[in-house]
């Protein structure tokens, strides 16, 4: 019906940054791991942990149960460390860029093009950003205000050196290396990521945010994020990701661990917009991510909100272990696939404590020839007296060549549990669009209204600016697929 697209579905983050890089030769073995650890000047316990993870990984095989198809990844054909030279130089002297003013202007420009203006960040006090470029964290904004409240927010590399006790206590406590193939790989080769600790009783005064950028060719990004909310604390955490357009597939295998102690609350939001490959399905990021939170203490709360709009393949199940009595977990997700994208994403809610509650709201939109599967598990352990779960999984198909699926696993071992599951599939149809257009809404406004309505319950969980961005992102990607 509509031959000319209204807005070109161009990936506007597809540029590359021309900057001198230090990159390890391709390949994965013990020496590479030792090299990474030594570049990062890590203590021996971390190196030993990496080597243990590597041994575990070597014995594991890649999971094949997800509904995604891709050529096997050659793990020896990837470089496991890549960092801007200027940054490395300073690090070797044991002296990371002290202030953001010392950053390479090319990096500053890159983040500006991504919509993160460092100058702006210095003025805006609403959010602190940790910027991860390929394998390293290049800087964190708004440190002063965080210091005042005793909030620790820095790269995980710094944290390993500066706060070894905290890191040792919690690192791997939610996602051990034995958990899965990609978690083991990450444990062996992770190069950076963010660390965050909110002290007892502190409501983090500003939102914390990490921006992940893959730039270099033939590298993988393996970041590690660890976030600990001590008793009675609260934090709102945002995460964004982009990468250049490249014909080769690139691997992103991250691990995120969240720990909420008694009465603490963590809200973790992601807008994922990795490069998804071109119209013929060439290139794009393989996004194989393990994200899990543990409500350790009573009355603690963890919620994951994700807008997954990029990546050639998404394999991601942000989960919550509800260990403390009365703890609450939530998963709100919008996953959009178009062209040849494949997403297999969902959550796990493991109820251990009494009167634990979990909510799952998943909205999948699949367009073109893409595949979009919700896969989720709700597990009620024998100890979880009075546990409750509500799950709602809705799929929207755009066009007639895409497919959507819902795969819920429910395991209940306590009779007092109450579970509800609702699922629906609908089609974004020409008739719906015509209905709105015949009421004076343009094609763009119509798509926007339909998508907004469909994703409403998820978008309202996002902080306002993030939610506006997310809506725009989804609209832009859908405009070409509709009509």
């Amino acid at each position: 019906m509509n031959d000319t697209p209204i807005v070109d579905k161009e990936y506007k983050y597809g540029f590359t940054t021309d900057i001198a890089m230090e990159q390890l030769a391709k390949g994965l073995n013990e020496d590479v791991i030792r090299k990474i650890s030594s570049i990062k000047d890590e203590p021996d316990w971390m190196l030993q942990s990496r080597l243990r993870s590597f041994k575990i990984w070597q014995k594991m095989t890649e999971p094949k149960w997800a509904k995604v198809n891709y050529e096997p990844v050659d793990y020896q054909d990837i470089s496991y460390y890549s960092a801007p030279k200027s940054y490395v130089g300073m690090d070797k002297k044991g002296d990371k860029p002290k202030s953001l003013d010392d950053l390479d202007p090319e990096l500053v420009k890159t983040f500006e093009r991504l919509g993160i203006s460092l100058n702006e960040q210095k003025r805006i006090s609403g959010v602190a950003v940790d910027m991860v470029f390929d394998s390293v964290s290049v800087g964190t904004t708004n440190k002063e205000i965080l210091d005042k409240y005793g909030v620790i927010f820095c790269s995980i590399s710094d944290a390993i050196k500066k706060y070894p006790e905290l890191v040792k206590k919690y690192y791997g406590s939610v996602v051990p290396a034995t958990d899965n193939f990609f978690a083991a790989l990450n444990g062996a080769v992770f190069t950076d990521g963010s660390f965050c600790y909110i002290p007892k009783g502190v409501t983090c005064p500003i939102d914390l945010s990490t921006y992940f950028r893959i730039n270099a060719e033939e590298t993988g990004q393996f970041e590690r994020t660890l976030l600990v909310a001590d008793e009675g604390s609260y934090v709102n955490y945002l995460e964004g990701c982009t990468a250049p357009m490249r014909d080769e597939n690139q691997l992103h295998a991250a691990v995120v661990e969240l720990i909420a102690l008694k009465d603490a609350e963590i809200k973790y939001s992601t807008v994922q917009n990795w490069y998804a490959g071109d119209k013929d399905g060439k290139g794009g990021i393989y996004n194989f991510v393990t994200k899990r939170g543990k409500c350790v203490g009573q009355n603690s709360k963890i919620s994951w909100t994700q807008v997954e709009s990029g990546s050639a393949i998404t394999w991601k199940y942000p989960s919550v272990i509800l260990q403390g009595d009365n703890s609450q977990g939530a998963f709100y997700s919008v996953a959009l696939t178009h062209d040849y994208m494949q997403a297999d994403t969902g959550t796990k809610m493991i109820h251990v404590g009494k009167n634990t509650k979990s909510t799952i709201i998943s909205k999948g939109i699949s367009a073109d020839k893409s595949s979009n599967v919700y896969r989720g598990q709700v597990k009620i352990m024998p100890s979880a007296e009075g546990a409750r779960n509500y799950s709602q999984c809705d799929s929207m198909l755009v066009g007639d060549q895409s497919n959507a699926g819902t795969v819920p696993y429910i395991e209940v071992k306590n009779k007092t549990a109450i579970l509800e599951h609702e699922a629906s599939t609908s089609r974004l149809s020409e008739d719906q669009l015509f209905y709105l257009q015949s009421r004076g809404l343009s094609m763009e406004e119509s798509i926007s209204m339909l998508v907004n309505g469909f994703c409403k319950e998820v978008f309202k969980q996002l902080p306002l600016e993030f939610s506006v961005e997310a809506v725009k992102l989804i609209e832009m990607k859908l405009e070409n697929s509709v009509g």
């Binding site: 019906m1 509509n2 609908s426 020409e430 008739d431 719906q432 015509f434 209905y435 709105l436 257009q437 015949s438 009421r439 004076g440 809404l441 343009s442 094609m443 406004e445 119509s446 209204m449 339909l450 907004n452 309505g453 469909f454 994703c455 409403k456 319950e457 009509g483």
Partner: protein, 250 residues
Amino acid sequence: MLQVKNLHVSVEGVEILKGINLEVKPGEIHAIMGPNGSGKSTLSKVIAGHPSYEVTSGEVTFDVNFEQKNLLDMEADERAKEGVFLAFQYPINIPGITNYDFLKTSFNSVCEYQGAPKLEDEEFKKLLNEKVKLVEMDPRFLTRPVNEGFSGGEKKRNEILQMAVLNPRLALLDETDSGLDIDALKIVSSGINKLHTKNNSVIMVTHYQRLLDYVVPDFVHVLSDGKIVKSGGKELALQLEKEGYDWVTT
């Protein structure tokens, strides 16, 4: 107001309208009747701009403030903004969007196009309250998602509410009477009559005479196999009711 000249329309290569001629002047009410599959709904959808139909030849022009505009060159939303309104035979659900938000967005995009000031919540609510009374709708419908969980009759009434809010120059009512019980039919008809002035026009597409008892047409056209085979005054509808469509189509 509206001129349809020798209109031919196909869907997926099958010709459905085979040369329609129709002229509607301001203030007139036309009824289009005909058996199933004669092309009645197609005609109203094509005038409103449904993208699935291919106009193979012919013209559809629309007069706005003494200027003649070619409707076929416009997207559906532009036609709506020029004052063409289609009340759907099967209104569509819009999950997650309240009736209120929908009506306000729609109203304001039409206002913006026509150079009228947009209304903020307070003023819009006032306007909406009047319109809600016109179709005797429960105001609670406004806070519910568009058409979700509405009964067939409620959906039809909601269409007339949208018409009342948008105040179109030309209203195309596609089988608005179907699925209505007699009370609802009276309310909907009285709404249509109240909205009708000497400056706007109505085209009703219907199977049955019963709507025409309440909204009295100036002209009745009988459509059969993609062509208008007979036109006349309101008495034509009565005659059809008595003798059946065979009387005009064979």
